[in-house]
């Protein structure tokens, strides 16, 4: 019998039970055996000194791109899971824009089997809404649900046809699973590589207007009302979308939404290669046309960024999700027009979010809530809380330790981050999955 693990002296943040205090945790096997202000040490225990650290439930990411099958040069289930663990995540969900897409039972099973063998965190697949993510015909949703998908999405693409969206919402409602939509009206974003603003004008790059997102958010709200289906708006990015969702929630419409760390912390000035602390003019330089900041939805204006923070504070935004989108070097070593959309986020999510506790009214417990309790509710899983008898999925981190972002040290194959070289505050010390230490920065 393996030794029990005593994690002592850490500050527990467990939003589910409203705990924010110093406590010891005794882990036995895969579960939490005891949780108390002081647990007696024993030579029979393995000890983990957490006196300088916070301990939260393991983070849950409902929106990742693991690229397998099909684009294993960008990421695999194994490397994505390792990156997740390094970022403090113990459960992640894989978007279906793989090659082939997760649109039938065999691909779901491939992902589940591969995850079981190679992933150090739990991986839940998301099924496609339409066959081949082409937007024309619904997938066999009931069978996908039976095979174990946790929701449906054509992410990367919107479900552009309103009638298909209507049917998808109606059909999935009987399965009790959400439709996760990437809201973007294609006609308004065609040929665009960034946000439409003074920055895109300065750079001469075609931008997507906020309307491209908001029109589809409004449409989906209306269709959710019509069908009673659960619409989940992925990576919301504009002030107008937040206002629409806030209003829809007040009407009792079945809607949830998520925001990414980058839309909470960066603006489109990152494409200019300029410091985004202010939204003042900055000139075009050789560091502009920063493909690392090319992401969809695009990094928006300061007003939009501030609206994300407000939406998190007032509860309009339910979940923080990474939209981890790893790419290879050649996908980004090119012009803005040629570059792939996406940021490798898993390993920088926590420090990016912690910066919000210094620059806004957002508190650490609120962030942890959006990374644990809320996504667990969304997934309908009994995880996301540190309680006696529950699974021991734990994230141990410092909120003050500073480190320099060096993408070559990422465990993800995706080194694509606009944060390269930045000094961030907040670092994962260790990640524990079902009682097993799957990541320890000092080992």
């Amino acid at each position: 019998m393996a030794k029990k693990l005593l994690i002592y002296g850490g500050r527990i943040i467990n939003p589910k039970t409203n705990i924010n205090s110093r406590m010891d945790i005794l882990v036995s096997g895969s579960k939490i055996e005891n949780l108390a202000p002081k647990i007696q040490k024993s030579k029979d225990y393995n000890l983990l000194d957490a006196r300088n650290y916070f301990i939260s439930p393991g983070f849950i990411d409902i929106h990742c791109h693991l690229r397998e099958p099909g684009e294993e040069y960008k990421e695999t289930i194994a490397t994505g899971a390792a990156a997740a663990a390094a970022g403090g995540f113990t459960t992640i969900c894989a978007m279906p824009n793989t090659i082939p897409a997760i649109d039938n039972r065999s691909v779901v099973e491939f992902i589940k089997n591969k995850s079981k063998e190679e992933a150090i965190v739990d991986v839940y697949p998301i099924g496609a809404v339409t066959k081949g993510r082409k937007g024309n015909e619904l997938t066999e949703m009931a069978e996908l649900a039976e095979a174990g998908v946790i929701g449906f999405s054509d992410d990367g693409n919107p479900v552009a046809d309103p009638n298909i969206m209507r049917q998808a919402l109606a059909y999935s409602s009987s399965l009790n699973l959400p439709i996760i939509n990437h809201c973007e009206v294609p006609e308004l974003s065609k040929g665009a590589h960034m946000n439409e603003s003074w920055v895109s004008t300065l750079l001469g790059i075609k931008g997507m207007p906020n309307s491209a997102e908001e029109i589809m958010v409004a449409r989906d709200i209306s269709l959710a009302k019509l069908t009673g289906g659960h619409i989940h708006i992925a990576h919301v990015s504009t002030e107008g979308s937040i206002n629409l969702i806030r209003n829809a929630k007040s009407e009792g419409i079945n809607i949830t939404c998520e925001v990414t760390p980058h839309h909470l912390t960066l603006t489109d000035k990152s494409v200019l290669g300029a410091n985004s602390e202010t939204y003042d003019y900055a000139p075009v330089t050789i560091n502009s046309y920063n493909t690392m900041a090319k992401v969809n939805p695009p990094l928006r204006s300061l007003a939009d960024k501030n609206a994300m923070i407000a939406g998190l504070l007032d509860g309009t935004i339910d979940i923080i999700a990474t939209d981890h989108a790893p790419h290879s070097k050649v996908d980004k070593m090119c012009t803005m027009n040629e570059a792939a959309f996406g940021i490798s986020v898993l390993e920088t999510a926590l420090p990016s979010l912690i910066s919000l506790t210094e620059t806004s009214a957002i508190s650490l417990p609120l962030l942890i809530d959006k990374l644990t309790v809320e996504p667990a509710n969304f997934l309908n899983l009994d995880i996301g809380s540190i309680e006696v008898g529950k699974i021991a999925d734990l994230t141990i981190f410092s909120a003050t330790e500073e480190w320099k972002v060096e993408p070559n040290n990422f465990l993800s194959k995706g080194k694509n981050t606009p944060l390269e070289g930045d000094i961030l505050k907040g670092k994962i010390k260790a990640t524990i999955k079902k009682g097993v230490t799957i990541y320890d920065k000092d080992k």
Partner: protein, 324 residues
């Protein structure tokens, strides 16, 4: 990009990516230098040894005759060896990556590469990754600095100082790299700029008001869709080329309506200042954005723009190569 100007003609220019990185003094230095170069152009034997042993590469990913030939002629008059590469690629068939091409050009020992590319920012990407000097000969819808500088040079020859003059740009501001570089050059030299076109062809952030963006140099530019207002008391009017596909893409109801509403005609120009100068960066759609009578009228300096191009580009090559 980094430019330092001193009180002499010694002035360092590593790259020429856009006019925005130049100071007023830098621009004036380049224009003065162009004048010296034009003197060479007027000689019987048009050849000076300034850049003997230097290698200049023109790398064009978009069709161009005038700009490329102008650079080639400028390089040859200065005795540089000029290598022309035409790299026409379609969006579907990816050839060698721009990055690898850039490394190759650096490895063959080129002193300057002149790049035209359909993607905005391509010259910046190159300049970031290689030590070879990069001249932007037009990138996407972003910038066309040598066109803007040669136009400034042409204006200067014609009327001297630009400061305080009312200059109106008419047409497709949204997609025009020439217009963007002009806005930089003209504002640095103290001109009063008005831009005019249908709202569909003016950047939306201009219309909504850039004044919200602190420190934006284009805050002072006047924006209007009223052509008569835009032309009133203008000293210089520049018509921009209207890409014919703008009708298809929904920016315009028809070329006919554009011509009717925004075409430069003799009648419309009567409200401008006497002797108003007419410019066009070419190639022109005569009868659409500009009436033939205006394009070839006495106030037009469209022909002179071409001649100025060689002198201006000689000046730039000379500054970039000889000081390296």
């Amino acid at each position: 990009m980094q430019s330092e100007s001193t009180n002499s003609n010694v002035f360092k220019l590593e790259n020429m990516l856009d006019v925005d990185a130049l100071t007023k003094v830098d621009i004036e230095t380049i224009l003065d230098h162009s004048e010296t170069m034009e003197e060479v152009l007027n000689r019987d034997i048009k050849k000076v040894p300034s850049l003997r042993g230097k290698t200049i590469v023109t790398l064009f990913y978009e069709p161009s005759t005038r700009t490329r030939v102008s650079f080639e002629q400028a390089g040859k008059i200065l005795s540089a060896d000029v290598i022309n590469i035409n790299n026409k690629t379609s969006s579907n068939s990816k050839g060698e990556s721009l990055y690898n091409t850039a490394l190759t050009i650096q490895a063959i020992g080129a002193d300057v590469v002149i790049l035209r590319h359909p993607h905005s920012g391509a010259p910046y990407f190159m300049a970031k990754h290689i030590k070879t000097g990069v001249i932007n000969a037009g990138d996407g819808t972003h910038a066309h600095p040598t066109q803007a500088l040669l136009d400034l040079y042409t204006i200067k020859k014609k009327i001297g100082s630009i400061e305080g003059k009312k200059i109106t740009l008419v047409g497709d501001i949204l997609y025009s790299r020439v217009a963007r570089s002009h806005m930089w050059g003209l504002s640095k030299l103290g001109a009063e700029i008005t831009i005019c076109g249908p709202a569909t062809l003016i950047p939306n952030d201009f219309i909504k008001g850039l004044q919200n963006i602190k420190g934006h140099p284009f805050n002072k530019i006047e924006i209007t869709s009223n052509i008569n207002h835009a032309l009133k008391n203008a000293d210089i009017v520049m018509a921009l080329r209207l890409q014919l596909e703008r009708q298809q893409s929904g920016h315009l109801p028809s070329l006919r309506e554009y011509s009717k509403e925004f075409g430069l005609t003799e009648k419309r120009l009567q409200s401008s200042n006497p002797g108003v100068i007419i410019m066009h960066p070419g190639p022109m759609n005569e009868g659409i954005e500009i009436e033939s009578a205006v394009a070839h009228g006495t106030n037009s300096i469209i022909e002179e723009q071409v001649t100025s191009g060689v002198a201006l580009r000689m000046a730039l090559l000379n500054i970039m190569c000889s000081k390296s």
